[in-house]
């Protein structure tokens, strides 16, 4: 198992390096930061001076090497837009995104697994079919439109929930949370639904398919033949086996929730890293973009690692041979 983790980590580092490289190579094409950083009255001399200061005149590889060297030390440089250390900005913005992602992730997981089981067990029932169809409506509209429609209905027409922002947040020193105030919780509702709906549908369908497969297995028949209760069969025998494949995909999905937050955060002006990233792109704030992409990869890799370890916890077969990975 140790070997497994080591291998996984080594691969992850490789993934990160490549990610970093790709991320970085993209920046040369997003636009020119200098144009945004200088006012209308700037002269060519100002432009040249700034380019030199930012190191933008250096070859791309040199820039990447410099970036990596600094990044390893946790230093992502200063944001061109805000003139503050990127690491500060990110750590300031991360709680918002993580809280949103956590809530919608939990919602997607709980709802997805619950409904997935329900629709699998009641495969031919009316309720299950209605849920299946409705869930498709959720993924048949782009996220941003769902967000805007939710705002229109619940904020503008009904006035029940806020249309933007995080509401009142409590500062815990290194973390700001919206969980402790009513307005914070209210502000979470619409973005979390917008963000989680898609993932929920995905997880639900996945769980359903896997569960149906598992319910056909011989050991389920054998459990039935032993007269176990349906509940024990569904939840003790089938669900656990269902979870093994579900975990991988779900892990990947939770990773992409953070990335998908870009859209939700833009629609709801949610002050998280996704919004930060969009702003950074508009402003060609290279350090922020690079750091954001690296952060996403790190999280992704970390989630994958956790998923792999979960496998070991769930599936005893892996503990012995350790050969099969989480493909």
């Amino acid at each position: 198992m140790l070997a497994y983790i080591i291998r996984r980590v080594a691969q992850s580092v490789l993934v990160l390096l490549i990610t970093g490289f790709v991320a970085f190579s993209m920046f040369s094409y997003v636009g020119d930061p200098v144009e945004n950083m200088l006012g209308q009255e700037r002269t060519q001399a100002d432009v040249d001076r700034l380019r030199e200061q930012l190191g933008l005149d250096q070859p791309f590889v040199v820039q990447y090497a410099k970036f990596l060297g600094q990044a390893v030390q946790g230093n992502f440089g200063l944001s061109y837009r805000q003139g503050r250390p990127v690491s500060d900005i990110l750590s300031e913005r991360l709680p918002a995104t993580l809280e949103l992602a956590a809530v919608s992730g939990l919602m997607a997981l709980a709802g997805g697994i619950g409904l997935g089981i329900f629709t699998a067990i009641r495969r031919r029932g009316v309720g299950a079919n209605v849920i299946m169809t409705l869930s498709l409506v959720g993924v048949s509209l782009p996220t941003f439109l769902i967000g805007i429609l939710l705002i229109y209905v619940f904020a503008v027409q009904l006035g029940w929930l806020p249309s933007f922002g995080r509401g009142e947040v409590t500062d815990l020193g290194w973390w700001t949370t919206g969980f402790l105030t009513v307005s914070g919780l209210k502000a979470l509702v619409l973005p979390a639904i917008t963000l989680g709906l898609y993932q929920m549908t995905l997880i639900m369908r996945l769980v359903r398919t896997e569960m149906l497969e598992v319910l056909r297995m011989d050991y389920i028949r054998f459990a039935r033949a032993r007269g176990l209760r349906e509940r024990a069969i569904n939840f003790r025998h089938a669900l656990k086996n269902t979870l093994v494949p579900v975990i991988t995909i779900t892990g990947l999905q939770l990773g992409s929730i953070i990335a998908f937050a870009i859209i939700t955060e833009t629609v709801f002006q949610w002050p998280g890293v996704g919004l930060l990233f969009i702003n950074a792109i508009q402003f060609v704030d290279i350090p922020v973009m690079a750091a954001y992409l690296m952060m996403i990869s790190v999280m992704f890799v970390a989630i994958n690692l956790v998923v792999d370890l979960l496998y070991f916890a769930i599936d005893p077969r892996l503990r012995v041979d350790g050969r099969s990975g989480g493909h």
């Binding site: 070997a3 080591i6 291998r7 050969r323």
Partner: protein, 320 residues
């Protein structure tokens, strides 16, 4: 009679070690699984040579090595006098053409997306030769109708599929057919049809069979000569009647005793002890010694060598 196929000290090891990193960290040695161990045998042209043994004894592996689907780790395989290890590749592929295979599972050995015509003609089509009318002719030869060439495999029953497999094997006019448990997935009534067909074809076309099976009665019915495998090693080999009349090796005896018999109503015998050991860590000495009622100290330490007792070759310290 010259041997069409000759195996000399054939050995095949599979590397079943854990990945390098695991071995380093967990201080594990490299592990190999000896699927075939020091097997020598000869199959004369026109005869049926059967390999029997329990699951995992290496029957299929030998078959595949002969067919060229798996490489040998040691020893030689001679087909029609050509050493397939050392001869020029062109020569090897030429003799391999003389050789075809029939597999165990008639449901898995036909591509479900291909029409029967194409399946049967494939061995010929690969060489770019004309396949005009070939499938239809072969279908009739194996007792199906020419019109079946237009169907897909799923439209046939298990027995019919096995006939299609046989037709495919015959397409390239082979001399040798390796049959890897050709009837073990079939019902007895269908099995008899397929076995009869195979016997008929053998007579008509003068084929040589390497017949792999775990079913002693089938082997007894089909084979001229029988080799018994245990953990990759050929523990006993004899002409059919000799073997059945006088099994020398205790393992062979055990197999005969354990096999259910139609005339043994309510037989109450002590069932054999134990199961086949783990092939990765086989017992030292004679591999059968942990289960052998005759085992003595020498069996624990010394690997028995092949001995000739009359027409029988046997690997046992105590056989006589």
């Amino acid at each position: 009679m010259t041997a069409l196929i000759r195996l000399e000290r054939l050995t095949r090891d599979f590397d079943v070690s854990k990945p390098w990193l695991n071995r380093v960290i967990e201080r594990l040695p490299r592990e190999t699984l000896r699927a075939v161990s020091d097997v020598s045998l000869e199959i004369p042209a026109g005869s049926v040579y059967a390999l029997v043994g329990e699951s995992g004894s290496g029957k299929s592996t030998i078959g595949r090595i002969v067919a060229g689907l798996v490489r040998a780790s040691g020893g030689t395989v001679e087909i029609d006098g050509v050493d397939t290890v050392s001869a020029a590749p062109a020569r090897v592929s030429e003799v391999r053409r003389e050789l075809q295979m029939i597999f165990q599972d008639p449901f898995a050995s036909l591509n479900p997306r291909w029409k029967v015509r194409r399946i049967i003609a494939e061995p010929v089509a690969v060489r770019g030769e004309s396949t005009e009318g070939l499938s239809e002719r072969l279908l009739e030869q194996v007792g199906l109708s020419a019109a079946d060439a237009n169907k897909y495999p799923h439209e046939f029953s298990g027995g019919q599929r096995q006939r299609i497999c046989i037709a495919r094997a015959l397409a390239s006019n082979p001399k040798i057919i390796i049959c890897d448990e050709p009837t073990s997935a079939l019902d007895v009534s269908v099995q008899s049809q397929v076995l009869n067909l195979m016997s008929d074809l053998r007579e008509e076309l003068g084929l040589t069979y390497l017949f792999i099976s775990h079913d002693l009665t089938v082997v007894q019915h089909m084979a001229d000569r029988i080799g018994v495998l245990y953990l990759g090693a050929l523990v006993e080999e004899a002409p059919r009647d000799r073997l059945f009349a006088e099994p020398k090796h205790p393992y062979t005896q055990m197999l005969f005793d354990a096999a259910p018999r139609m005339d043994a109503f309510g037989r109450e015998v002590e069932p054999p002890k134990g199961e086949i050991p783990d092939a990765i860590n086989p017992p030292p000495g004679c591999p059968y010694h942990p289960r052998c009622p005759m085992a003595t100290e020498v069996c624990w330490t010394e690997v028995p060598q092949t001995r000739h007792i009359g027409e029988t070759r046997v690997r046992c310290h105590h056989a006589e």
